[in-house]
């Protein structure tokens, strides 16, 4: 779905990402891990065409991303960003309906189908009866779920999520990943998720990309990437690795 071919991203003379090479395939979730400033958010912004690439190319379904219009990119790629705050009193329903912009006309009103899709997305994100609530009156966690609901309402096939679980309680962290997994399985979508939670990444991701200093340090199955020496090198901490007895996935415990 998405082919990233040796891209380099620069802010002015400073190289933030270099030689990034990977594919995102249908039905797949890739978790992106790395220390602060490793270039994780920059990667997401490049993948949806916000930041221009200095060298290399990004292909969306085989065609250069740079050749698509904003509307065409938004039809295929949805982003859940870290920050979202508005100074105007916007209702939750209005906010989620804004996710339908790229699917309809740039003018006029949303259709009954749009309303149904928005309402379904709210229900999936455990936000029933939130329609009329104002965005600036919600807690951080509730707002984060609304932002995910909007991304689901876009019906885009590629989801780019930047720390989507940062403000969520345990139950909603699992819900978020379950919803993303469902999209990937049922709708043949794919997702790239930035997270600092190594164990969530291990549980839900098909592959993990470990970024370090603007480059890919390791990419592969969770068991192959989440290794003591890799985590020591990237995060500078000692970890203990064992197996989650329920899921049999690799489990990481930090040694403080």
């Amino acid at each position: 779905m998405l082919e990233v071919q040796n891209i380099t991203i620069k802010y002015g003379p400073c190289e933030v990402l270099r030689d990034i090479l990977f594919d995102l395939n249908q039905g797949e979730i890739i978790a992106v891990l790395g220390a602060n400033g490793a270039g994780k958010t920059t990667l997401i912004r490049a993948l949806n065409g916000t930041l221009p690439v200095s060298t290399g190319e990004i292909l969306l379904d085989g065609s250069a991303l740079a050749g698509f219009s904003r509307r065409e990119i938004a039809q295929q790629i949805a982003v859940v960003a870290q920050e979202n705050e508005t100074k105007f009193p916007i209702t939750v329903l209005q906010f989620v309906l804004s996710g339908r912009f790229s699917q309809g006309s740039a003018f006029g009103w949303e259709t009954g189908k749009d309303l149904q899709i928005a309402s379904d997305a709210l229900r999936e994100c455990d936000l029933v009866d939130y329609d009329g609530r104002l965005m600036n009156e919600l807690s951080g966690g509730e707002r984060q779920r609304v932002v995910l609901a909007r991304a689901l309402a876009t019906q885009a096939k590629i989801l780019l999520l930047d720390e989507p679980t940062a403000n969520l309680d345990l139950a909603h962290q699992a819900l978020m990943f379950r919803l993303v997994r469902e999209r990937c399985v049922e709708e043949m979508a794919a997702a790239i998720v930035i997270t600092h939670d190594l164990n969530l990444a291990s549980e839900f991701a098909d592959r993990i990309m470990l970024l370090n200093g603007g480059g890919i340090f390791a990419i592969g199955k969770p068991r192959d990437v989440l290794r003591e020496e890799n985590l020591k090198e990237v995060f500078g901490v000692q970890v203990l690795l064992d197996e989650n007895p329920a899921s049999k996935k690799v489990r990481v415990t930090t040694v403080y």
Partner: protein, 308 residues
């Protein structure tokens, strides 16, 4: 519908009321002249000015995600005022010099603010507002310097105009402002869905498929033309672009597909009412309409600020 009916009632009342009360029937020749050559053009001009300023404020507030944004804050009005003053001082014999130079002034001021606000990574709203304030202050000082070139009669007329004055309306001026405000309102209304997304955030709007740069350009150009035409015709009528969209949002919510067109009608009602007060409060003498809108607008704004 209620707003449109309200506008019609206000228009009829404003046409009837004044230092000379008109009954619409059995008018004398002098009264017919007052009605058709003075009163109706003036009331229509007031409606157009109100509509143009209110839709400009509504669009700018959403575009810049700043509830305080309006043409005055961004230097657009002062750019238009400087253009009008240059026409007033140097090209008074050409009727069209005022709107043309006002458009040019508004456009140049907007372009200057936009260029100042841009940096390598794009434009952020804080830089834009700061640039607007700097350009506004700079243009104000040029306006003050230029007033020293005026003789006493012109100075009084100019001062009155600068405070917002509909009494100098001409039939051609009304036609121009009517056409510009009508077309401008339609264009800005057509961008309302994109403005809804921009109101949430520029990055969100971009991610969701809005061509942010194009919408920004359309809004800036249309607002420059709207403000240029209103300032050329009536000077600086303050607070309309700030207060009216806020009142409309209280009534209909923040969806720009309602806020932009409703602001046009509500803005028209607000300025026509204010001008009726300006004409009748101390008749036969007149007050500048800008002073009345500020008298109503400032306390109303403080009330809205406290309420939120």
């Amino acid at each position: 519908m209620i707003l449109i009916a309200g506008l019609l009632v206000v228009l009829v009342l404003a046409i009837a009321l004044g230092s000379e009360r008109l009954a619409f029937f059995n008018l004398s020749d002098q009264q017919r002249t007052i009605l058709f050559d003075i009163r109706i053009p003036r009331v229509l001009l007031g409606a157009c000015v109100g509509a143009a300023l209110a839709v400009s404020g509504a669009a700018l507030q959403s575009l810049l995600r700043n509830p305080l944004a309006e043409p005055y804050l961004l230097g657009v009005s002062n750019g238009a005022a400087l253009g009008t003053m240059l026409a007033f001082v140097f090209f008074e014999q050409f009727e069209w010099s005022r709107p043309v130079l006002a458009f040019a002034g508004a456009g140049i001021a907007t372009f200057a603010v936009y260029q100042m606000a841009k940096n390598r990574t794009g434009m952020n709203v804080e830089r834009l507002v700061l640039s607007g304030v700097i350009v506004t202050t700079f243009l104000s000082s040029i306006l003050v310097l230029l007033t020293s070139l005026l003789d006493a009669t012109k100075l009084r007329s100019f001062t009155f105009w600068l405070l917002g004055d509909l009494s100098q309306s001409t039939v051609n001026g009304v036609y121009l402002t009517l056409a510009v405000s009508f077309i401008g309102t339609i264009i800005l209304s057509s961008q309302a869905k994109s403005l809804n997304l921009l109101m949430i955030g520029e990055r969100d709007a971009f991610d969701l498929g809005v061509e942010v740069g194009r919408v920004r350009l359309i809004v800036f150009v249309v607002v420059s033309v709207l403000v240029g035409s209103t300032v050329a015709a009536s000077g600086s009528v303050g607070y309309v672009g700030l207060i009216v969209p806020h009142l409309v949002r209280l009534a209909v919510g923040s969806d720009n597909r309602l806020v932009v067109p409703f602001s046009a009608v509500a803005g028209a009602i607000f300025v026509v009412l204010a001008d009726t007060v300006a004409r009748t409060a101390i008749a036969p003498r007149e007050l500048p309409v800008g002073a009345i809108t500020a008298l109503i607008g400032a306390p109303l704004f403080i009330y809205l600020l406290k309420r939120n």
